[in-house]
Each structure stands twice: as structure tokens, then as C-alpha cells.
């Protein structure tokens, strides 16, 4: 007890004369000192983080949705840093100030803390405010920009504000992604090229198991499910290349299921798309007409269980046109 008095509880001289025991007053002054240390450290570390580390947080600012993700990460980290500092400061303070070798009291946990009105109210208030804020902030951030780059299913709630949207279909299969450009004759290629400054609607689907289209630097990530049209939006801002990875464990070559994509200028994109449309024309006319999902055909699967579940009269397009003997 003597230690506590000597170290921090600068008694203001008017304490209730209860001999050597003055727990409430000491608690209070420890509390204020902890608060002061925490406040100063947080006020220093938070701006340092935001100014020096903030701009370099992944996935960068290649697109609207990537920039949105960076902003979200930064807000979360700015909120998390004071929480972390609070824990560390308290731990360090306890180790230095209340360690047994200094002749301090037994640790006051459990029952004693249980009746502390201040600790309880501040604990509940702070955590409630934090969690409610994060819930509200998180929900709002899922809306903007453009649905945060996440797959929103076939009927997106949050859509781009732009009137011109370029649809690109992403088709996952074991083990690569192919991309169809329905507004350029529906050609299908392994190359993903997107124009700068144009809203893109990725229509993500799969021909077999569940894959996940993760265009890392674009801040876009959407599950590729068979028979599902999962829509994700973004607007690329910066020119350059980005990486696409499959992010759903999908079999032996899941780890090799990646490719590079490119953001190019609008003019370059037009040239690329028209050239590719011509170059692939012979194969495009063999593809099924563009559809948002495709049911692999019985024969196309060359056996396997999938065909047994397929309704041959489904409105879903059969991938591979009419097949001999597909019923």
C-alpha cells in the first residue's frame, strides 16, 4: 500500500483518514494517470500511422473499390490502435507499478472489480459505442463505392452511378478463369483487359465447383458458383497490371489458378477488344450464346454426376449447344 501512495496516488490531503487504507482515492488517481498515458500515446501513434503507413496499405488505389478498401482498413486500424495501446499501457503499468517485489498488494481482480461502477459503466459504454459504430460504418461501407467490390448475387442492391457499364463475364473452371465480353460479340478468352475510368460489372460464375474471383489490386472479390450469376462492380482508376487469383480451395491446381489482368486506356481497350473479337471469331461461333449462367451438358462433362441433376428443359443455357444423346 505504501508503494501505491508513494508512486502515484498523490493524495490531495483531504482524503478520508482511514489509516493506511485509501483504496478509492488510489484507484482514481491510477486511473487518471493510465488515461493520460493512453491519451498521449494514442494522440501520437494514430496520426503517425495515418500519415506514414496509411497511404501504403493494400490493395492500393488502382480502382474505386480498392481505394474504398484502403479507406476502410485505415479507419479500422485508427480505431484499433488506441484499443491496443490501452491494453499494452495497462499491462506495462501493472507490471511496473503493481509488481509483488515492490511489496504491493495482492492483485485486485474478480470480486473487487465486480463492484466497481466506474469500470463497469465505462467498459460497457466504450465497447458498445465502438461496436455499434463499426456495425454502422461497416454497413455503410458495403454500399459505397459500387458495393465495395464484393459479389452481390444476381440482383445487386448497390449499383454504379455511371450510365455506361461494361459487362465482363468471369467463368471459373478447374483450373483457370476465362472471360467473356458480351458487348463485343461474346468472345471468350483467358485474358482480362479492362478500360480505365469505366464502370465494370463482373458477372462471375463457374462451370464446375465453387471458385472465387479475386482481382486483388482492383479490390474485387466474388465467389464463382455453378448456376449462379454473382455480380461485382468496380471502376479502374490507374493503368497497370493486376493479379487474379482463385480464392476458394478448388482442387489440385487451385494454387496455379491465377492470371494477370491489365487496366488500359479506353482507346487501347477498344483496339484490343475489337482485335480479339476478330481473332477469336472462329471459336466464338462455336460457343453457346452468351448467358449469365451455363449448365454443363451431360455429354460435355464426359460422365460424372453433374448431369444427373440437370434439367434438360431448364432455361439456363447449355454450355456446348446441342449434344448428341443428351436427352
Amino acid at each position: 500500500m505504501s508503494v501505491a501512495a508513494e508512486g502515484g496516488a498523490v493524495s490531495e490531503g483531504s482524503g478520508a483518514p482511514q489509516g493506511t487504507d485509501e483504496p478509492p482515492r488510489k484507484e482514481a488517481s491510477h486511473g487518471w494517470r493510465l488515461f493520460a498515458i493512453w491519451l498521449v500515446l494514442s494522440a501520437i501513434v494514430d496520426p503517425l500511422y495515418y500519415i506514414f503507413a496509411g497511404p501504403h496499405i493494400p490493395p492500393g488505389r488502382m480502382s474505386s473499390t480498392a481505394g474504398g478498401a484502403v479507406f476502410d482498413f485505415n479507419i479500422l486500424i485508427v480505431l484499433a490502435i488506441p484499443v491496443m495501446i490501452g491494453v499494452w499501457v495497462y499491462m506495462a503499468y501493472a507490471i511496473i507499478q503493481w509488481r509483488a517485489s515492490k511489496g504491493g498488494p495482492e492483485p485486485e481482480g474478480g470480486p473487487l472489480a465486480a463492484n466497481n461502477f466506474k469500470i463497469q459503466t465505462s467498459w460497457i459504454t466504450i465497447t458498445t459505442v465502438l461496436v455499434l459504430f463499426l456495425a454502422g460504418f461497416g454497413t455503410y461501407e458495403l454500399v459505397q463505392p459500387e458495393g465495395a467490390g464484393g459479389g452481390q448475387g444476381p440482383n445487386p442492391i448497390w449499383t454504379p452511378t455511371s450510365n455506361t457499364v461494361l459487362p465482363i463475364q468471369v467463368i471459373g473452371q478447374q483450373w483457370k478463369f476465362t472471360y467473356r465480353y458480351p458487348t463485343f460479340g461474346g468472345f471468350e478468352t483467358t485474358q482480362l483487359v479492362v478500360p480505365q475510368g469505366v464502370s465494370i460489372a463482373f458477372h462471375v460464375t463457374s462451370l464446375d465447383v465453387i471458385h472465387d474471383f479475386w482481382a486483388y489490386q482492383l479490390g474485387v472479390k466474388a465467389d464463382a458458383n455453378p448456376n449462379q450469376d454473382n455480380v461485382a462492380f468496380t471502376t479502374p482508376y490507374q493503368l497497370g497490371s493486376f493479379v487474379v487469383r482463385c480464392d476458394e480451395l478448388c482442387g489440385i491446381w487451385h494454387g496455379a489458378m491465377y492470371n494477370n489482368g491489365a487496366v488500359v486506356t479506353k482507346d487501347q481497350f477498344e483496339v484490343w477488344a475489337q482485335t480479339t473479337e476478330k481473332a477469336l471469331a472462329a471459336n466464338t461461333k462455336l460457343l453457346p450464346p452468351f448467358a449469365y449462367t451455363y449448365t454443363p451438358d451431360a455429354n460435355g462433362a464426359d460422365g460424372g454426376y453433374y448431369p444427373d441433376n440437370v434439367d434438360p428443359y431448364s432455361k439456363v443455357e447449355t454450355y456446348g449447344a446441342t449434344q448428341p444423346g443428351s436427352g
Partner: protein, 214 residues
């Protein structure tokens, strides 16, 4: 307690051996430097022997012995022209995705089917496509056109050219050293979910590595 420990160790050893066991590698990297290498593969509708006699499989011809080796691992020198010959003994079907009916990533974006050059194969016509030879990271894809399923097809490896077959030839230049996974893109694992299990997921059958050495 001791019993549990012994069982745990045995399980771990079995798993480690199982996971690290690899098919043999057929070495084409001893060719004279600067000379093209000729790699020869065959595909068979049913391997015909244990442990998976019913599985489709690739085999690779050992250049030093002329023997067919049941594997999907081969090794070539870096930055060298690789002339591939694939003798396809299996039947075919329409493709789940006709995109892989295109020849891509080969020299001249072309492959020879029984001597005739082609760029795109319509899998909905004729005997369809049985398998593909694809190295996705290098953009290489060649559809292996199927044989008539009603013909007397070879059903146990190694097959000989007495059985009906299609010969596919194409070339590419090997990249820098590294291990490049290659695979078949036709879901040919008959009887497995989506046709993509079994041989499609097993090295030595429809999946393997091209090892490139400097």
C-alpha cells in the same frame, strides 16, 4: 498413452510418404544444347493396371529406352524449342467449355492433327475432344481430338499404333527454369463429381509437371 503416440507417429509417417510420393520424371534435358527436344506422350482411355485400371491416363516415352513410362512428369532444358507429339488413343465428347477447343500458346498458334494444321476444333462435331494438353501459366492449350468411341479402342496402357489413334504435333519454346503444372481441361474423370475427380486430381494421370532446367 504410448499406444496413442505410436499410432500418431505411424499416421504422420504414412501421410508424409503419401504426400511426398511423386511419379517418376522422364528426362529430356540431356539433348545437345541449342537443339530442339522431341517429347512424346500418349493418352489412354483406361490405364489398365493397378492401382487404378479404369482411370484415364497420360504416359510419357523415355527417350533413352524408348519405353512408355506411366507418369506425367517430364523435364526439358530452358529456352529450347520443344516439339511435342501426343498420340491420343481415347474417345472424345463435346467440350464443357469450347474455349479449350482453341489451340493457343504454341508456335504459330497452330497444331497438327494427323499432319493437318488447325487453330480451332469444333468439339460438337465428329468425335469431339478427349483431353487437352494445357500449361495454363504459359498460355498453352491444345485439344486432343477424340477417336470413334465405337471403334476397337485401346483399353490398357501402353497402347501401340495398331489401335485407332490421332497424332497431334505442336511446338513451343520452353521458359526459364522452374516447375510448370500442366493438366487436361476435359473433365474426363468418369464417375467422379463433375468428372473432375480421380485421374483429374492425381499427378501421374491427367495432371503433372513440366520441369524446366537451365
Amino acid at each position: 498413452m504410448v499406444g496413442f503416440f505410436v499410432v500418431a507417429v505411424v499416421v504422420i509417417v504414412v501421410l508424409v510418404i503419401g504426400f511426398t510420393k511423386q511419379p517418376p520424371t522422364v528426362d529430356y534435358s540431356n539433348a545437345q544444347s541449342g537443339q530442339p527436344v522431341d517429347v512424346t506422350l500418349q493418352t489412354v482411355g483406361a490405364y489398365g493396371s493397378a492401382p487404378h485400371p479404369t482411370w484415364v491416363s497420360y504416359l510419357i516415352k523415355d527417350p533413352s529406352t524408348g519405353q512408355w513410362v506411366h507418369t506425367s512428369y517430364f523435364q526439358v532444358p530452358a529456352h529450347t524449342r520443344v516439339n511435342m507429339t501426343i498420340i491420343q488413343y481415347d474417345s472424345g465428347s463435346p467440350l464443357r467449355n469450347q474455349q479449350i477447343g482453341m489451340v493457343t500458346g504454341t508456335a504459330g498458334k497452330v497444331a497438327l492433327l494427323n499432319g493437318k494444321p488447325f487453330h480451332v476444333y469444333n468439339s460438337n462435331a465428329g468425335n469431339g475432344v478427349g483431353h487437352t494438353f494445357s500449361i495454363p501459366t504459359l498460355g498453352i492449350n491444345v485439344p486432343l481430338v477424340g477417336n470413334n468411341a465405337n471403334a476397337n479402342l485401346c483399353s490398357a496402357a501402353p497402347c501401340t499404333e495398331k489401335s485407332p489413334h490421332n497424332v497431334l504435333k505442336f511446338s513451343f519454346t520452353s521458359p526459364g527454369s522452374g516447375s510448370y503444372p500442366w493438366q487436361c481441361f476435359v473433365p474426363c474423370g468418369l464417375g467422379f463429381l463433375y468428372g473432375n475427380g480421380g485421374p483429374m486430381q492425381t499427378n501421374g494421370y491427367m495432371a503433372g509437371f513440366m520441369k524446366v532446367v537451365a
